[in-house]
């Protein structure tokens, strides 16, 4: 990455971190309801991969921990937050909520709540790309524990068989809710699991964005060149509980501290300062500006946006009836 890109990414990652922390606060204030899964700690994964890919051009799909992936693809943070507030201006018009952020224009194909559900959807998106002949790729971000769904294996087989342009990114944060990976999974290193399908795979540190970027570039290039799927495993850690009701009794505070020593944002910051590309004061300014942006624009927009109207409860269940009449009634238009 060029130094200017690194500075931009640092700013983005600060936004991603502060956005999530602000969600936490809004949840406590009961502005946000339902389940809320936050991303702090894992920022280098999404950012490193998407810097190597083409956000807004490549198709991205993920699970319920989806705010940052949406924003990285180009979704407006205001609309993402408004979605969490359940507002009509939200990215899913207040119908989806935290686990279901969508921005089709930005080719963010959504967050899904059932673990493993996106695997075959990603392969299907890749199939469509293949049929249409574009140079896009599909990128599927999921957790480590998702690989224990049967559909993981079914999808790997099909993706390899049909050489689909899909990159599977496994954000291995060592836990699926409160169950640690060694208690749920026979192999810790997830990339080994796709060898049976002849899918090339790689594993690297998911905390250091430079490392993620280097590995992701090879992975993305491989897929974009028409060589079929690739599986990239990133070793990472989520700082907060799985969702808001999780008090993290299943892991030690010491273990958390060890991971926080290698914070993806602070590592990039320190590297840029050491390189003379910025000063600590510059960084503090970024933080301040980010917080001001979140408060004065993102939160303000979400607070002031209207609620959906109850009369519209059944909107979006089906296609607009008027447009479908020939097929619904049998009477040709």
């Amino acid at each position: 990455m060029k130094i200017e890109d690194k500075k931009r990414v640092l700013r983005e990652m600060v936004l991603h971190r502060r956005f999530e922390e602000r969600c936490y606060q809004a949840y406590i204030e009961r502005k946000i309801g339902g389940f809320l899964h936050l991303y702090p700690g894992q920022e280098a994964c999404c950012n490193g991969v998407m810097e190597a890919a083409r956000p807004g051009h490549d198709y991205v799909i993920t699970g319920y921990r989806d705010h940052v992936h949406a924003i990285k693809c180009g979704a407006d943070p205001k609309e993402v937050m408004a979605e969490l507030y359940g507002k009509e201006t939200g990215s899913s018009k207040g119908r989806g909520g935290s686990m279901h952020i969508f921005d089709a224009d930005k080719r963010f194909m959504g967050g899904y709540a059932l673990v493993g559900g996106p695997f075959p959807l990603a392969a299907g998106i890749a199939k469509a790309i293949q049929l249409k002949g574009g140079d896009e790729i599909a990128i599927c971000f999921l957790g480590d524990a998702a690989n224990n769904q049967g559909v993981f294996h079914e999808t790997m087989n099909m993706a390899a068989l049909w050489k689909l342009p899909v990159l599977f990114v496994c954000e291995n944060n060592l836990y699926g809710i409160g169950t640690s990976i060694e208690r749920s999974t026979a192999v810790i290193h997830q990339h080994k699991r796709v060898a049976a399908y002849n899918i090339p795979a790689d594993e690297c540190d998911g905390q250091d964005i430079d490392i993620v970027y280097e590995h992701a570039r090879k992975a993305v290039d491989h897929v974009r060149a028409g060589n079929g799927p690739f599986f990239l495993e990133l070793m990472t850690y989520r700082y907060r509980g799985h969702s808001m009701s999780d008090s993290r009794g299943y892991r030690s505070r010491e273990e958390e501290e060890v991971w926080k020593q290698r914070d993806p944002i602070l590592m990039l910051r320190d590297r840029l300062i050491t390189a003379g590309a910025m000063t600590m004061t510059d960084y503090e300014t970024i933080e301040k500006e980010t917080d001001a942006y979140i408060e004065n624009e993102v939160i303000k927009f979400s607070e002031e946006s209207p609620e959906p109207r109850v009369e519209d409860l059944e909107k979006y269940v089906f296609a607009d009836r008027e447009t479908q009449l020939p097929w619904l009634t049998g009477k040709a238009a």
């Binding site: 119908r95 989806g96 909520g97 709540a113 673990v115 049967g150 699926g176 809710i177």
Partner: protein
Amino acid sequence: MANIMYWEAIQRAHDEEMARDPLVICMGEDIGVAGGTYKATKGLYEKYGPLRVMDTPISEGGFTGLGIGASFLGIRPIIEIMSVNFAWLAMDQMFNSAAKVRYMSGGQLTAPCVFRSAGGAAHQLGAQHSARMEKVFMGIAGLRVVTPSNPKQAYGLLKSAIRCDDPVFINEHELMYNMKGEVPDAEYFHPLEGSDVARAGTDVTLFGYNISVHWCLKAAEILDKQYGISAEVVDLYSLSPLDRAGIKESVSKTHRAVIAEEDEAPVGVGSEVIAIINEECFFELDAAPVRVHSALVPQPYNHTLEKAAIPDHEDVVKAVLKLFGKA
């Protein structure tokens, strides 16, 4: 009588049965070390160890099938599916293996397993975490379906389900785990079939199950106090089989029926109860039965839309008043 919570009642049933019979085991996601999403298996891992309290991978189809396979050899697994929304992934094994194996083996194999799962709309959990799916389970031959509305039932139905030689699906509710109620101190087995009269009355029968029993009870209170209408509340804790005799008996007495369900109307409990009324006691009716149910939409996240989609006790009151020509 102890006044305990719904989850404590479920936990107690697990504990008693596991202490009694070493072949009773339980399995599911985060049920062991973490003690269960709704605490229903709290403390069991420490007491019975990892061989009998199994934290499973997120492999619903796999671990449900594995539990069913173990039950072929006489193990009594209590399989927790964290949320009914995830049960779709396990249904192939539940329906094609557990529910059919006795029949298709001419009685040679049986699958005495219990499936427990949290259903219902909680608060703003969105389209993929708010399903009410009892309608899917109750039409499957070979599978029993029960759904407790209070801690006593939660305890007693699970006890009976574990002892019963048939596969039983227990539909719990995310919003009810902390509900308190009286549970007998002595061991107690609630029948898996039948229905409970939760409140006696003479003018109209309100049929409910699980959470909607509470809407019916609240509605009955309002109808009595404000409108002088005496409503009987029948708790259909057994959804498969439905209690034909109990439905007939109550409707023959009150001559009017309202069925309240949190589920959407099509192919639901309400449709089924009305069909039974038609078949059993049509000429006892003074008015056409009415269903109270959810809107047919994927559950919206927005709080106001969510409330608009789901019925409550006020909708039950309105339905009754309409039945009496008072609204």
